[in-house]
């Protein structure tokens, strides 16, 4: 038990859940369903990757759902009303969201405020700004959009690995590499472990905080673009409450909400577990969508309780065996 990392437990839950679902509905175990699972949760996977960095560093980012909503509206209006080429619109919104994240990080660091409340203000700000742009759903008809929706790699068994699923997988892999193999990643862990210690050891705490929130908002911006590919529209109310799903996925993935521990792969598995619950409920047909929320809540509780237990176990003073004294 002691050597079992939380990620492994998440993986076991995912596999066990998948096997149980497949036993009841054999068609779930097909590349078609798995392909859809990846496509439907592509934006969640991207934004959860960014959230993993924030939470490991000991912070939280409540603004991601609003940033996704703002991005979809901005992209839709830029392409359809203001006549921007799609690529220019994408670059513009990514710069904008990165600057937004950097600003939140700067406020958190400079004024020494809790991330929770600063990103809450960011959430209001981004959602309010998207309402100001447009309150109605703006369809996007640019040719790029139909090209991206049509693009898919055929998998054996008839499944389609869509473009947005590929983008998500690429970002998850890049995020995992960034977190586990670079100095930046090591600094993120250091910040979450103990801010003062990290600062004494020479980590530029201010710069790191700004970069981490910038990364989270940037990925939320990318998730927003992916979301607009997924729905082919921009709507100011899209992705309401996604911040909760994201935090839930990160926690189920074995990342400690107090910071200092976690992994991008675990988060990815957490996203898949949430997607699996949704898929199961769709397959069953008699269960209503609110069971998703209850099931997610129960899983959330189980994983947090488990982490709490593991932490308590780690903090327990080491008991020397009686033989050592003699």
């Amino acid at each position: 038990m002691k050597g079992l990392p939380p990620v492994l437990i998440t993986a076991i839950v995912l596999v066990a859940g998948f096997v149980l679902c497949a036993l009841q509905f054999p068609t779930i175990a097909s590349t078609r369903v798995v392909g859809n699972l990846l496509t439907d949760n592509a934006f969640l996977g991207i934004v959860a990757t960014g959230m993993t960095f924030v939470i490991i560093s000991g912070g939280i980012d409540l603004s991601v759902g609003s940033v996704i909503g703002f991005t979809t509206v901005f992209v839709a209006l830029a392409i359809e009303r203001w006549g921007m080429p799609p690529l220019v619109a994408f670059v513009a919104i990514l710069l904008l969201s990165a600057a937004f994240g950097a600003a939140m990080g700067a406020v958190i660091h400079v004024f020494d405020l809790p991330p929770f409340i600063v990103t809450l203000a960011g959430m209001f700000l981004a959602r309010g700004a998207s309402f100001l742009l447009s309150t109605e759903s703006v369809p996007i008809t640019a040719p790029v959009y139909s090209a991206v929706s049509d693009f898919a790699v055929r998998m054996p068994g008839g499944g389609r690995l869509t473009a947005i699923a590929i983008i998500m997988l690429a970002i998850v892999i890049a995020g995992a590499l960034l977190l586990h193999l670079t100095r930046f990643g090591a600094n993120v862990y250091a910040l979450g472990g103990n801010r003062t210690t990290a600062s004494l050891m020479g980590v530029a705490v201010g710069k790191m905080t700004i970069k981490i929130y910038m990364l989270s908002s940037l990925l939320a911006g990318i998730a927003g673009i992916v979301f607009s590919f997924y729905t082919s529209a921009g709507y100011s109310l899209s992705a309401v409450g996604v911040e909760l799903d994201t935090i839930a996925a990160v926690v189920i993935g074995g990342t400690l909400l107090t910071g200092g521990q976690g992994s991008v792969i675990g988060t990815f598995l957490g996203v898949l577990i949430q997607g699996l619950i949704q898929t199961y409920i769709n397959f069953d047909g008699t269960l209503s969508s609110w069971w998703t929320k209850i099931a997610t809540g129960v899983l959330l509780f189980a994983f947090i309780a488990l982490q709490q237990g593991l932490v308590a176990l780690a903090r327990r003073p080491v008991v020397k065996s009686a033989g050592a004294a003699s």
């Binding site: 004024f111 839930a248 809540g297």
Partner: protein, 330 residues
């Protein structure tokens, strides 16, 4: 001026006066009150009435925050209690309906308090669980429909009037007086502040910190349940998806505007309720001004940032240094 008014709370009172003045400029009849059918009508009464649910949430939230905690689940608890009240209203009497709805809030509070005080979870995480699952539970109770009712007793709770004032306002006032009497009339408030200031030191000094934490979450749950019943009675129905949606954020905002530190250790009930009124006065003002209600969120964001920056220890430190420099120069 400072001699007349306590230093604490001056900023909030001034803010409320400024916003009221702006509202008066936007809508000249803002302060008009008229008596009709034994009940007062007017924008001011409307502000009080609409502000009631958030004010009730604030009463519980401010105590939770004083212990260095936070309760994200109050919106979901509102949905649950509203759903229970609406489902029972037409077949049972008011006492049973209220007991069931408030009991549900009590159980939710016990659950949150158990996770935080006994299992030692971080408050944000612990209450996140109920925030996610609670709305699902509420939908389970209403079976995904919007449950409506016509029980006159429950409707009176949302739309009736006592001595010219709307019933919700009277209930909120009563709860404020009750909470203040219990918390400030005894040493309880001090013990709660001690728990938030330094839980370990308080524990060593003999404060039952676990009991304190547990009881503030229970109180927060009960207040949220009451707000949920009133919200349901107001629209004569329960909508599990939208009842109390995002109100937890408004309640936290109200507490922060009221000058209660998010780091725990001190709180003010009256100022927190004043914070709730400030938020509602802004909302009503924006509505009356004819601007789209979408401006609400932007204005709120700016207000949160401004209040946060004013409270920031760093900023007041800087201001202190600047003042000292000026003094030495002079």
């Amino acid at each position: 001026m400072t001699a007349l008014l306590p230093r604490r709370g001056l900023a909030q009172v001034l803010a409320l006066i400024v916003i009221l003045a702006v509202d008066r400029m936007v809508s000249p009849q803002f302060f008009d009150l008229r008596l009709q059918d034994g009940r007062l009508f007017g924008s001011l009464i409307d502000v009080l009435n609409r502000g009631t649910p958030v004010a009730l949430l604030t009463l519980g939230m401010v105590l939770v925050i004083a212990t260095r905690g936070i309760d994200l689940s109050v919106g979901a608890v509102m949905a649950i209690s509203g759903a229970i009240a609406a489902s029972l209203a037409d077949s049972y009497g008011l006492p049973i309906v209220l007991t069931a709805a408030l009991g549900a809030g009590l159980v939710c509070g016990l659950w949150n308090g158990f996770l935080v005080a006994v299992l030692g979870m971080q408050p944000i995480v612990a209450t996140l669980i109920l925030m996610v699952a609670g709305r699902g539970i509420a939908q389970l109770i209403t079976e995904g429909r919007i449950v409506t009712f016509s029980s006159p007793d429950l409707v009176w709770l949302g739309n009736g009037s006592v001595l010219g004032l709307p019933v919700p306002v009277v209930i909120a006032l009563g709860m404020l007086v009750l909470t203040a009497a219990v918390v400030r009339g005894s040493a309880l408030g001090l013990l709660i502040e001690a728990t938030g200031g330094n839980a370990r030191a308080s524990e060593l000094a003999g404060v039952g910190t676990r009991a304190m934490i547990l009881s503030v979450y229970v109180w927060c749950g009960v207040c949220a349940a009451l707000a949920g019943v009133i919200a349901a009675a107001d629209i004569m129905g329960a909508d599990a998806n939208n009842a109390g949606l995002w109100l937890e954020l408004d309640a936290i905002l109200a507490v922060v505007i009221g000058g209660t530190s998010l780091f725990g250790g001190r709180f003010s009930l009256v100022l927190a309720v004043l914070g709730a009124l400030i938020i509602q006065t802004m909302n009503t003002g924006i509505l009356l001004s004819g601007y789209p209600p979408e401006f609400n969120l932007l204005v709120k964001a700016v207000v949160v940032l401004a209040v946060l920056l004013l409270q920031s220890p760093k900023l007041s430190g800087l201001a202190g240094i600047a003042m000292r420099l000026r003094r030495t120069k002079a």
